[in-house]
Amino acid sequence: MWTEQEILMILQGLWETIVIVGVSTFFGYVLGLPLGVLLAVTDSDGIKPHPMLYKVLDVVTNILRSVPFIILLVVLIPLTRAIVGKSYGTAATIVPLVIAAAPFIGRMVESSIKEVDHGVIEAAQSMGAGTFKIIWNVLLAEARTSLLVGVTIAFGTILGYSAMAGAVGGGGLGSIAIRYGYNRWQPNILWPCVIILVLLVQLFQVLGMKISKDLDRRRS
């Protein structure tokens, strides 16, 4: 049913997908977590309102969020080239994925933080907690369950985006599925790719939910 070469190709694709999605999620959070914290903190009902900064971050986030990913991929080719030296392959896929994921992650982090009970925040303020103490000890600590649910959602979304990157020469299973499934109509390659992608999302979802449940000490 498959040649040895095809099996190796799919395995290599799986590995590339894991690397692409893992690294992109990581760097997505490196940018998105501070962005989300800043959005939540500088908003008019945040702990350090700053209308100007909020507006700028808000607009930039919205602009990036409203460009369809497949277009963003094309638009970002010069940036990708500048950073990794070429516009195709595994490393090249990561650049646009991070740029697309960061604002999306930022919004999720913002909404997780805004779920934290305002009374508790005011209590911490009156007890003399500075802004950074509140962000760390109250906002992020209390929102951690919700933040982790966000990570599993981000992982799934980035995985979806990574398949699109296959259309413009990115690496990973998505690119294999497009090349062999769409361009050559080879169901024996297409379907294993699809099934592996589905399993990957499922696995991560289950894992993420389990960790977030263990971390949630509100109920025991």
């Binding site: 009970d117 005011e122 007890m127 907690a129 025991s220």
Partner: protein
């Protein structure tokens, strides 16, 4: 001024509502002595919560002087106020406002972590404060596993743990039933009279205020009488 922890002179707080200027506090002068349990009594809108916010260094007066523990807080910057509250003031809230993810010890230790105290000392101090409020059996319980009265005891321990010059309580029994209310008020009396703390409680309820040593009745932003 000997022995007074708080002294307020001619405190005004004026809010602008569009073109109109509304005086929430209209020249309040008052004093709280060390080791005293004082109640500020008034209906909603009387200015009692505004006064509490001023006295606790959460907000600054438009005019007037507030001296707490020898320091003029009306002259402090926002950053100085934060530090002042961290070092000198304890708070008890109506809705307890405990962190749901933390157990009793961790909740009580929280204000100490804001002061930068190390973890083992924080835990020790927190356990001591929880014993003081009679919760030795609930040290590792989380807020959702405790009754309202127990949660408020944790709240009281959290205020005590910083060994503040003064503790402020804003309607501390507002969410509790009558029986629990009485036991919490007895605990507050104990905290003042036996442990030597100073407590200012804000309430709309004259019956609750009767547990205090002294009552300041406030109406339309002025202290109308004391008893």
């Amino acid at each position: 001024m000997n022995g007074s922890v708080i002294s307020g002179k001619n405190i005004y707080k004026i809010f602008k509502l569009g073109e109109e200027r509304v005086a929430a506090l209209n020249g309040v002068s008052m004093e709280v002595k060390r080791g005293e349990f004082v109640a500020i009594v008034g209906t909603s809108g009387s200015g009692k919560s505004t006064l509490l916010n001023m006295l606790a260094g959460l907000d600054k007066p438009t005019k007037g002087e507030i001296i707490i523990a020898g320091q003029h807080i009306e002259k402090m910057s926002e950053g100085e106020l934060v530090k002042f509250r961290r070092d000198h003031v304890g708070f008890i809230f109506q809705a307890y406002d405990l962190l749901p993810q933390l157990n009793a010890i961790e909740n009580v230790a929280l204000p100490l972590s804001f002061k930068g105290m190390n973890k083992s000392r924080r835990t020790k101090e927190a356990m001591h404060a929880l014993k003081q409020v009679g919760l030795e059996k609930y040290m590792r319980h989380r807020p959702t596993e405790m009754s309202g009265g127990q949660q408020q005891r944790v709240g009281i321990a959290r205020a005590l743990v910083v060994r503040p010059e003064i503790i402020f309580a804003d309607e501390p029994t507002g969410n509790l039933d009558t029986k629990t209310t009485i036991s919490v008020l007895h605990l507050l009396q104990e905290v003042v009279h036996e442990a030597g703390n100073t407590l200012v409680m804000v309430t709309h309820d004259n019956n609750l205020a009767s547990y205090a040593d002294r009552r300041l009745h406030i109406l339309d932003g002025e202290v109308v009488y004391e008893d």
